[in-house]
């Protein structure tokens, strides 16, 4: 069945602006997260989802109701539809069953089509939520620092993709040109152990301490959810599809200015390349300095000057 895609015509200026926000742009918006619950969940997964939502706020929407019949590894169309509706390009889906306890599925989309999808098992004994750490957290919407530790992130292709995935997931604002040095508030760290393949995610608050010279000393305080995850299943985009998503628009690239340099004194020097000129065909009639009469004019003015001098 072919579904007719009706073109949405906005009726208000506000609606028009909202649609414009959702259009593809040269410099993109931050990726939004969609938090969805599955049919059967337990309390720990509920808290985890809430924590992810808070970590990513305001770039995050939470769906409160349970959703039946969503099996992401079989069919992602329903989730893609929800993401299209809320203009999100990431989703987090939690379930809990006997076969797959404490299940968390994270995925990212490109053009409302699922690109990469990772299914994790959360270790519920070592899980600590945001509420378990009683201290100041961070301002919502702040861009986090990201630290990855573990050789696996570079050796195996699956974990390479996972690293790129997490950068994309937690990055926040894209293309940030400047940062307030006091604005570095929190850091999210990922440690991947070779032997147990355990991925530990910790979130710390950065504190600047005096160090005697300009660069401050850093101290870290744990604030955020403490997660220990093991990968269960993955569904990665094919290399072709992945390459397509990496394409950057040429308009953003800095344009090189050729033939203009600044010398040591600070003057701007330009270089002009001329084609070969035939000196016999040059236009000289319009150049005053080449006129024969000009020398006679000079004598006349000198004469005038002498007269003025003599009267004084």
């Amino acid at each position: 069945m072919v579904k007719l895609q009706r073109i949405q015509r906005p009726k208000t200026h506000r609606g028009k602006r909202a649609l414009k926000e959702r259009e593809p742009k040269l410099i993109e918006n931050a990726r939004s997260l969609l938090c969805i619950r599955g049919n059967k969940i337990n309390n720990i997964m509920k808290i985890l989802l809430k924590n992810l939502h808070l970590l990513k706020s305001p770039y995050s929407t939470m769906y409160q109701k349970k959703n039946l019949d969503i099996y992401p590894f079989d069919n992602t169309s329903k989730l893609e539809w929800y993401c299209q509706k809320s203009d999100c390009s990431l989703f987090a889906y939690i379930t809990h069953s006997k076969k797959r306890p404490n299940n968390l599925i994270l995925a990212r989309l490109h053009n409302n089509i699922v690109m990469d999808m990772f299914e994790f098992e959360l270790n519920n004994q070592t899980f600590r939520s945001l509420d378990d750490f009683k201290c100041i957290k961070f301002a919502p919407g702040n861009k986090p620092c990201l630290i990855f530790h573990g050789e696996l992130f570079d050796n195996e292709s699956e974990y390479k993709r996972l690293k790129c995935f997490f950068i994309d997931f937690f990055r926040g604002e894209t293309n940030m040109k400047e940062i307030d040095l006091n604005g570095l508030e929190h850091v999210i760290t990922f440690t991947l152990d070779i032997q147990t393949k355990l991925l530990s995610i910790r979130v710390f608050r950065i504190e600047f301490k005096k160090s005697g010279h300009r660069i401050p000393r850093i101290e870290l305080n744990e604030i955020g959810p403490r997660l220990d995850l093991i990968i269960r299943r993955t569904k990665l985009a094919s290399d072709d599809f992945y390459k397509k998503t990496l394409k950057q628009p040429t308009a953003i690239k800095e344009k090189k200015i050729k033939n203009v340099t600044t010398n040591e004194l600070g003057t701007k020097m330009g270089r002009i390349h001329m084609e070969k000129q035939d000196f016999n065909q040059l236009q000289t009639r319009k150049m005053k300095g080449l006129k024969r009469n000009l020398t006679i004019d000079n004598e006349q003015t000198q004469g005038k000057r002498k007269k003025i001098d003599s009267t004084n």
């Binding site: 069945m1 169309s77 053009n111 530790h149 050789e151 040109k177 400047e178 006091n182 160090s211």
Partner: protein, 282 residues
Amino acid sequence: MNSNDLVKNILKHDIDEQDRILKSTEVIKPCPVDIDLGNLLVWDSNIIDQQAYKANRDEYIKNTMRDNMQLFVNALWQVPIERHDNTIVAKLPESKTIVPREKPVPKPKPLTKWQKFAQSKGIVKQKKSKFVWDETKKEWGRRFGYKKANDDSKPWLIEVPTNADPNEDQFAKRLSAKKERVAKNEFQRLKNIAHANKVNVRNDGALINKKSSANDMKKALATAKYSDASMGQFSERATVDEERQTRGFSKRRKYESNLGSLKNEKNKQLKIFDQMNSSTTK
């Protein structure tokens, strides 16, 4: 006294040493750490110390991450700094890691007829004021919109020009002229849109050079598969590759068995009747 002094000196030296270590911003790592300032990203490729990791995982993670963060801050403080009012701001360089985009690269929109003309002549849009002085009302009114200034759309008097027919309805003439202008503008706007979508239109609205694209063919194929007596139940579904959305293509109608339970069937039929009877729309 001398030995006392000696002891004091040694202790002081010790305390100073400790202080220095606590305050130090130096970090020594076996393998240099990869820092991407544009993304605020640190990639530490050092091997995890299994002993320390197994002994106390959280402590180990906290310490290594503190070191990594210190290296990052050391690098960040080297970057050129600007001052915006009261805040000190560091200019971040371009990010090294290329991250996939959320949506495809936007295609540049083709220029409209007016935009091309304005570009060639060098006409730049002048910013107009929102409010204009209304001479008759002696107050400021909007340039356009609700209660606009110099509004002559509803005139109470129109002078009949000398060369016009005295029986002609001037008010109706004004109205029809306005309608024509609006229609012309709409026509030109639609022409611009058609050109933007590479659809060539003749003056009377007919299409020129319409060639079917691959997209049209796919749609036609899907419609054809759906247009048989069984609504595409038994034919192969239109093939979809991973880059196109699967919405609308995966549903197949499920039929109930003829020999199922009578109770279920009765309940279903009654439910349909209830829905038809109810005043609320679903």
